[in-house]
């Protein structure tokens, strides 16, 4: 029998499984977060980014980019906002964050930890969103008048997410140093 030429077999490797696992956690956090009522559209904690930060610190930028973008797409599909304006704002923010993280991750680890990464990402996120909003949704400089509010949110949630990621990494480091270390070691 001749094998079909259109049949493509994909075998997920360990990297794919790992990225899928982390993405699933990030998506769950994003969906859970959507249930929290928030006073202003655009201001939200971005809890899914905690996972992005952990992946960035452990496995590097490439994996973090996968997890971040998979979360944006999957969470929007689950919440029904796929291809809606909110989705594009989210995507633009995520891309800006990843660009900032690509630079921030090169900083010396001894001095700059997850909180630095988180703040860089959160500020880049609002900057990316504001630029897209200015160019597309509200073509008026008035949107920039909201920037202090978004910056304050980025400061508070950036710090909180960074601390959460640092805590996660620190707790896992303690677990791994004990004899009963999980499969996380690499």
């Amino acid at each position: 029998m001749i094998r079909s030429t259109t049949e493509i077999t994909l075998t997920p490797d360990a990297d794919d499984h790992r990225i899928a696992r982390y993405s699933a956690v990030a998506i769950a956090l994003s969906v859970a977060e959507a249930a929290i009522p928030l006073p202003l559209p655009g201001v939200k904690p971005g809890l899914g980014n905690i996972v992005t930060l952990v992946v960035l610190m452990r496995y590097g930028w490439r994996d973090a980019a996968w997890v971040s973008l998979l979360r944006v797409f999957a969470a929007s599909l689950l919440l029904g906002s796929f291809l809606a304006p909110g989705f594009f704002l989210s995507l633009c923010g995520a891309l800006a964050s990843l660009a900032a993280l690509a630079m921030a991750v090169r900083l010396p680890r001894r001095w700059f930890g997850p909180v630095t990464m988180s703040l860089a990402a959160s500020f880049a996120h609002i900057a990316g969103q504001l630029v897209l909003a200015r160019l597309w949704l509200v073509p008026h400089d008035g949107v920039f008048l909201l920037s202090p509010v978004f910056a304050l949110a980025a400061l508070v949630f950036g710090l909180a997410n960074g601390l959460a990621a640092a805590r996660w990494l620190a707790d896992d480091a303690v677990d791994q140093s004990s004899p009963a270390s999980g499969p996380q070691a690499r």
Partner: protein, 127 residues
């Protein structure tokens, strides 16, 4: 978890970045108020512009209307209707105008004082 436990999660550079982010946020805040800063005052009588003056130095403008004289006072960065013969004195009681696109209208005397910013915004928008 106590504060000290959280503090040890921050590395030295993190404090620096946090401080920088806080300063950036603080620096953005004046934008909320300054964005509407007014550049000049436009005085109209009977719908026609009678004076257009910058809000740089204090001065006083008097405008004649059907009821009498309206006196408008200009000060650095603000302007007001100081006196008006209108019966209810709404435009006088509005006090100092400081924001761009704010307006005091003395309807009975057909005089208005409007502040405009560097670029004209809309009076109203609808969707």
């Amino acid at each position: 978890m106590r504060f000290a436990d959280w503090r040890c999660l921050l590395r030295p550079g993190d404090w620096f970045v946090l401080l920088f982010a806080a300063l950036l946020t603080a620096a953005l805040f004046p934008l909320v108020w300054r964005g509407g800063g007014a550049g000049k005052a436009v005085v109209r009588a009977n719908g026609e512009i009678v004076a257009e003056v910058g809000l740089n130095e204090p001065r006083s403008i008097t405008v004649d209307g059907p009821l009498g004289i309206t006196r408008i006072e200009i000060a650095p960065g603000r302007a007001r209707v100081a006196a008006d013969p209108s019966p209810r004195q709404y435009c006088v009681r509005q006090g100092w105008l400081t924001q761009a696109n704010s307006i005091a209208i003395c309807a009975p005397n057909r005089v208005s004082l409007a502040l405009v910013g560097r670029n004209r915004a809309y009076d109203s928008l609808n969707y």
